[in-house]
Symmetry: D2
Subunit: 302 residues, 4 copies
Amino acid sequence: MKINGVKIDSTFAEAFPMKATRIIITAMNHYWAYRAANSIRGFASSVIACGIEADIERKLKPSETPDGRPGFAVMIFALTVKELEKQLPHRVGQSVMTTPTTACFSGIESTVKLPLGKSLRYFGDGYQTSKTFGERRYWRIPVMHGEFVCEHTTGVCDAIGGGNFLVLGKNAHHVLSACQSAVEAIEQLNDVITSFPGGIVGSGSKVGCKYRFLPASTNEAYCPTLKGLVESRLSGEVESVVEIVIDGLTEEAIKKAMRLGITTACNYWGETRALCGISAGNYGGQLGKHHFFLEEILSQPD
Amino acid sequence: MKINGVKIDSTFAEAFPMKATRIIITAMNHYWAYRAANSIRGFASSVIACGIEADIERKLKPSETPDGRPGFAVMIFALTVKELEKQLPHRVGQSVMTTPTTACFSGIESTVKLPLGKSLRYFGDGYQTSKTFGERRYWRIPVMHGEFVCEHTTGVCDAIGGGNFLVLGKNAHHVLSACQSAVEAIEQLNDVITSFPGGIVGSGSKVGCKYRFLPASTNEAYCPTLKGLVESRLSGEVESVVEIVIDGLTEEAIKKAMRLGITTACNYWGETRALCGISAGNYGGQLGKHHFFLEEILSQPD
Amino acid sequence: MKINGVKIDSTFAEAFPMKATRIIITAMNHYWAYRAANSIRGFASSVIACGIEADIERKLKPSETPDGRPGFAVMIFALTVKELEKQLPHRVGQSVMTTPTTACFSGIESTVKLPLGKSLRYFGDGYQTSKTFGERRYWRIPVMHGEFVCEHTTGVCDAIGGGNFLVLGKNAHHVLSACQSAVEAIEQLNDVITSFPGGIVGSGSKVGCKYRFLPASTNEAYCPTLKGLVESRLSGEVESVVEIVIDGLTEEAIKKAMRLGITTACNYWGETRALCGISAGNYGGQLGKHHFFLEEILSQPD
Amino acid sequence: MKINGVKIDSTFAEAFPMKATRIIITAMNHYWAYRAANSIRGFASSVIACGIEADIERKLKPSETPDGRPGFAVMIFALTVKELEKQLPHRVGQSVMTTPTTACFSGIESTVKLPLGKSLRYFGDGYQTSKTFGERRYWRIPVMHGEFVCEHTTGVCDAIGGGNFLVLGKNAHHVLSACQSAVEAIEQLNDVITSFPGGIVGSGSKVGCKYRFLPASTNEAYCPTLKGLVESRLSGEVESVVEIVIDGLTEEAIKKAMRLGITTACNYWGETRALCGISAGNYGGQLGKHHFFLEEILSQPD
């Protein structure tokens, strides 16, 4: 299979179950809501060492937020509900509550709930108060800028982590320009995030390592500098490979993002044969139960 | 003492000893170096829950970096060398090594060293190699985008955390516009960072809390909504207070930043009496050994 | 008729015939293509004093441009083909040819043509050369950065200027936040531009003036400060009005943009009753032959 | 003479007398003041075809503007006072008065004055009013967004156009990255502007042309593609040249900008020998009376 002359490998991306929440951060204007959202999604590339994976999902107009102010939706993924429970109050406490004029709300419905204001309220040192509107409870925590309003809990749902595709090309400039365009396209979609810096991974990994203490290590089969030394998956002309990793709420959301991302990347350079191929990361099907076959995804209508 | 009509409280900022490192992140262009730097300084507001405090110190031209590529200097602070040792490999591994085309170097000299490539090299799964130029040792770790070059160690030095001042005003718009201008001015200085999102804290804290499990809580004396309920430090007209917290390598660097920040904020609104006063956060001198007296700092020449 | 509680006036926007061209500006990267495009669309608000009306239509990927480089499409409108012929070489010569690494191409097909390289080639002082690919002819003009490639001519077509709607609200903040969101939405559409700075007009005009030498003057019926002095069209609560003016290639393109812009603005503030109404500018039907009735446009599906 | 290994030609930049004004544009926030300033400086590269040369000089805090609002200073240059008189009302009328919430003030003192509100007031159709504070007179023109406040006149002074230097390098990427850094540095200075798009000219010209109707044409001696065909000033390795053109209020201001720009460009790439030389554009001393000798400028302290 080819798209605009770029070969699509006959393989699949292997993804695994995660848990996710979406929070809504609002502020007096988009500038300050962005500062908080940009902080909370920092150091959140991969659960392996960050605890969570997080990114801005989208910008919200006042009419799309609970308190009618400008905002951002942020999605946060972890391997278990317990881990999310542990990380969320630290992240929201440090990155959102500290940012002037912000408020924080649940952005997803569910039966099980994660603590939000429920944990953070204690910062009010007894001066916090709560209000209930219908089924939703909010905390008003007095702070220097005025008041930090925070919903009692946020929802949590089943999700999928590790949807991905690899882009192979002749040099880093070719590969990265095409992938930046792909990431911009994916950012327009709901229910998915790309948690790595700039949405693109330059050091994709395999499971396992010769050093026992490391759970993951460089994926040598895709390292251009090791072509002569290892059993390489790269043809001679490939000098740079990057990976776009997608976390999402559903299989459908991830498929849509993979399809849009791959077609955008393949078409970016037009007639120029700048890209050499598209592949995907998997571990022989033993790590994750979600398998996204490239050819199948790309054959489906949008 | 007054600056442009804004009253300066006769008080001091109380700061405490920290340890700091500076790393240099480079990439094929400033865009990608920024993506890595922006990730590493995320969720790094306060050591209390983030482990470290970090921010971009400044943009670097190719001629200012070890490998002659565009870059950014990032400063990272923690309470102990041990904590920095623990956090640094996670931060650099997740936020820098994953970002396409980056490299990472020490940005400060010292006898004691923190591990950088020394820890991260193992990701190379045995394919990493090292080179030594003079007294500096570098690791070349094969990755998908090509090669991640990382210096063996980075320096570490004594530093100071918690330099600060408070800006009191009639509303959040008045206070934040003036403080954004102050933060922009401070960002031009070397050897200091403002680690909170956007450089400004909206929820300044005091030491201690009625709930024993919390080490810090809202500073009620500066909360506008509590003026009637507590022993408030705020006059009737003050409806919003924010804090600018500055970490720096030396007392001089922090003094210079405080002086520049306070004068910029006080002069921002010109004739308009938008700000009500400048103060500073301290804990009666019992927390930190560094005391920055506002009137003294503001009387010194730059 | 109401949208999200905002009253839609039972009136129409009056627009008039124009002529338009689209040019494609490319460069070594989007940064430089943008510098040229941003220059050419400056001082191009209204034909009355700028000669043309121009704006960036959209960002182009390499695969969407004639030379496979990043680019921007810019649309330029004037009252006559003759005026476009006069203005175009000055605009492209000053704003595009001067910008490092750019090239310039026709972005629209037509039988009648406007000179592009046909005029600019003389800058080459005899060193220019031309090449023909199929039916298209290009000039290669030697310049300091290397070579400026410019298509011989660009197409020109019938178009419409002055599609518009007015947004009435309680203050400038309410009105402008909603309209910025509307402009962002319109910017996603093809075949239309909003030529005023930021896409929004703060000083909408009527035809005629008591001073004979001026063809247009302030539209006093919509000036909030004149409510008591003139026959005002504004209710008591309206304190700010702005106009979004849309030029487009077809009636359909303008209708689509008006519909998207109006619904985006009306929904921006959600439950908050920040906007007071939507109206449109017309001159009793005597200026332009294109009449866009708000209620009709808003009743049609997209 | 060499700076960081880059050869400085023993030549001079030839500049000529101009007239200049500075206007202050304010608005409800920096976003809208910027939209107006960005429009007025568009299509203002060179007086040859734009009538004026203009650019943003600097961002202004509320305390630096006449009405205590955020703003920008814009400088506008032309060959004669008469030409400025003719162009200014069109530029301010189309780019500033149309932009929501703006006001416009004189930013320079002088005995001779240029009309500002004096011309634009007629847009008020008789509803305009004027107020005098001290020696300054202001017009209040009712418009849809509220009121457009405009000072009666602005000052005008002697100035200099055409300060310049050339940067020669091995390719466009090398040359442009260094020059962008130089332009960023020059932008921090007062009393100077770089009016071309992005501050850099890719198609520097000489006086005269074989086609009589053109006053200027490509400077073939500096065109890399003509090295074999003409009496070239370029050595074999030079494949790209760009020019930074500086207009300023005084010789001192232009010298300072040239010195800062040249040293920033030369140091940008550090050890990498990416740049091949620095030169300057002159016409044998017959065009302009201001001669800026590179070696002299670079030998002076800052």
